[in-house]
Symmetry: C3
Subunit: 359 residues, 3 copies
């Protein structure tokens, strides 16, 4: 090895079936243990979507394949460092808006890039259904943050705390202020229970909200509308395991100022938003079944009139573990959107059935 | 290995020169044998193109480098699953329009994503020339299909059958109908012979045809024009090996309805298209030489006048195997385009010389 | 291994901490030793930029993660071939405008793709500062070349020579000529000294110059403005190592024809450009400190008036090696732009502090 490079052994015995995972070691002369790990995931199946607004019923083939790079190393002083991003996000990872770069040690872990906020990381979501997620209607909306963001986490036994901050001096928002968001969160495990809480605070119209801003949206993902107007939110979570049954619940309460969809016409009226989501997953050997329910409501005063909208969602699904990283999964989810004082109600139903693979 | 991860051995012996291929094992705790394999290809050389339409003679450096990910695993029940895509297609692979995801077992193999159609997969093309392909003028045009598509293949000894279907409920075409395409195909090996046949059927103006729609195209790839009007095609193939000589032939006969290039003015006239391609490749040790010839003709009635166009193509090339995955390759191909009842004739000549590498 | 594939050994001993680097072997039956190596880099930290033009002071999180593929093989005749590109450049690597493909042997090495020119490859730059480079103000501007380019290098003991050429018959430039650039260069090592020289020659307005064309640019990178008008440049470099101290110096002298920013109004006046850059880096164990200074001046006759602009840049920085591929780095750089006969002067200051990781 005159050039300082070492090469992977390749014995004739072939693949060791008992392996759980393998790491690809790479590096440069002088590095003790830097490495890049490659993993992947894929899925294939059929999806169906029906929405009442367009009276459209659409069935499609659906497939997806991904590869993830995870690089890690250790300083002489024992700090761990690493980076992780998906191949399809390599361009954004290069500019700091996808994947993450991290440093961790006794002080905890700090990560930069496309982090989930402290709130989302810590509280998380209740269980979803289907091989595609069927619109992820189980999810509550967090305020989010602009990338490049920073996330700090620290674990002391059963307690984990986290704090995050979106990009400093980011692009300005509707009203000319820099978009800025921050959150703090904590979770605590008590035997079979896990409790979590988070506070998020953002500037008016943080970008990640305005993506989904239209109160009269016809896309289910836009249902918790006017949430772009929410500038603070408190989220609570509780998970409980009773033998084969796992229950999860989330509640979020937010407040802010309404814009009525017109960026340059803030009306100053207070907006309030509440979200609830619960799920139950029961596992029998290789089979697990999941059901979830969720509700979101936004209320505000629209030139003297009580206004707002609410969505009610539920879903049921099953997953069967085929072993080796493969699962068969099917799910159905439904969303009903009710615009208060308005006839813009609609509903959307999604179904899927397919296979998911982890490599 | 407290975290369930195992690491690649790195003996001091270095690289084993007798290795044929190596697999990178990755995965997650609980997977028996999921793995991601990395391979690559590259090429470098000089190309020259001359077309009479622009009287343009252009010489250029040409290089290309690719990496491919191939992930695979096996369920407890013995089914194989996998995914494959190129690094440069990672984004499309994530949305199901590049690469493929597959499941295979005793029932055959089903694949979703950016499949070749059953017709193309089974019948295939005659041999081409050059390190770049020189415009792939050896290829006949198949009707194609929109992705995410599904492909099923099954092999019984010397017989292979295949069926494929383009995306269900895809985007609508010119006339407002959903684009839809399907094909069935079979191949049979008899000693040194291989015979194949395929039937394709598509909606009017399936997108993959209209890419090459213009009857008066100046790009050689557009020569088999008005093939966007072809809605069904039958393709036959025969391969024969006589010692060092391999002969291949393909015939395709299609029919459809002409549009005259105006999407909203179908004239209802019947279009017929015929294609023929033949190749001969002779191998002497490391050297192989290839020649091909091809012809395509589209005919239709244009407001009472017989109309159409035809192309005649040929090519010659040589490839020298340098060992280790490297080849030196050079080729020349020429296309003559003859627009019936029109003076829009032109021809195009492409030459290249370079190296191809497989990793 | 009936399919000719060999698999990586995965012993129970886990990761060997003394490893310096590892190679992922891949390939196809029949290849002796083709392989793809994966490596990566990442960085995270804080940046600050202040420019007088906008009186804007901006502080931001900054992170980046990259993965690189390096493929290599060897022909039966002992020639080495390879390809290299970053995951985020996979698309451009597929079209020959990112990464490189190369062949090397006793004749030297020839590379195609997104090469640095012979001048840049051979002379290189003086040392920069900071974990992000802080605008790379240490760098002198080379004329550059359009890709797909070709680069030839040959080393005889202490002497290295190089020649490069941009894409042949590339896109046309402002005046309708094909953009074309070429350079030749040589470097010679004499004990602790290294000397280098390069000559570049390009068509008028080679694209890589016009990117930075505006004489009144407010971006520091545009300071050596009107360099789009430079069509030839001679560059000299000298490096010297005195124990822990490394000194580097670069001088470039260019000439061309001024365009005044209007592509279709060449005024025919001669432009001259001079650049100087020097750096000193002193290393004490894990710590190294760097300072650089640079100056660039462009002068031309603007309708009878002496015109031009100059920039003065300097920077200071420190880097601390944390081991394992990690470094802590901080830097400050400043640019002052002086437009001769004009009041468009401005300055820009950049600072950063962060960590860099190599995997």
């Amino acid at each position: 090895m005159p050039d300082g490079r070492t090469t992977v052994a390749t014995p004739e015995t072939g693949q060791n079936k008992s392996l759980l995972a393998t790491t690809v070691l790479v590096g440069t002369a002088g590095f003790a243990a830097a490495e890049v790990t490659i993993s992947g995931s894929a899925r294939m199946g059929i999806t169906n979507a029906y929405d009442t607004t367009n009276d459209a019923n659409k069935t499609q083939f659906s497939s997806r394949a991904r590869v993830n790079f995870a690089a890690s190393g250790e300083t002489d002083g024992g700090l761990s460092f690493g980076a992780s991003f998906r191949a399809d996000n390599a361009g954004d990872a290069n500019s700091g808006t996808a994947g993450t770069v991290s440093l961790s040690g006794a002080f905890g872990s700090i990560s930069m890039g496309d982090n989930d906020s402290a709130a989302l990381t810590t509280v998380g979501q209740v269980d979803g259904v289907g091989f595609t997620g069927n619109g992820d209607l189980n999810e509550i909306i967090f305020l989010g943050e602009a990338d490049t963001s920073a996330l700090y986490t620290y674990t002391m036994g059963d307690l984990t705390i986290a704090a995050s901050m979106g990009q400093i001096d980011g692009d300005t928002n509707y009203t000319g202020n820099a978009k800025q968001a921050a959150s703090v969160a904590a979770s605590y495990k008590m035997g079979n229970y896990r409790f979590s809480a988070a506070i998020e605070r953002g500037d008016k119209a943080v970008y990640s909200f305005s993506d989904r801003a239209d109160a009269y949206a016809t896309d289910p993902e836009d249902t918790y509308a006017e949430r772009n107007d929410l500038t603070s939110q408190v989220t609570l979570g509780a998970d409980a395991t009773f033998g084969a049954l796992v229950l999860k619940g989330r509640v979020a309460m937010g407040s802010g100022e309404a814009y009525n969809g017109l960026p340059d016409e803030p009306n100053g009226y207070k907006t309030t938003g509440t979200q609830v989501a619960v799920s139950a997953t029961y596992t029998m050997d290789a089979l697990s079944v999941t059901a979830f329910g969720a509700h979101a409501k936004v209320a505000y005063d629209y030139y003297g009139t009580d206004w707002g909208m609410e969505s009610t969602r539920y879903g049921v699904g099953a997953s069967y573990d085929l072993g080796g990283g493969a699962k068969a999964q099917a799910g159905l989810s439904r969303l009903s959107h009710d615009a208060l004082n308005d006839d813009g109600d609609w509903s959307d139903t999604k179904m899927d059935a397919g296979l998911t693979f982890a490599f």
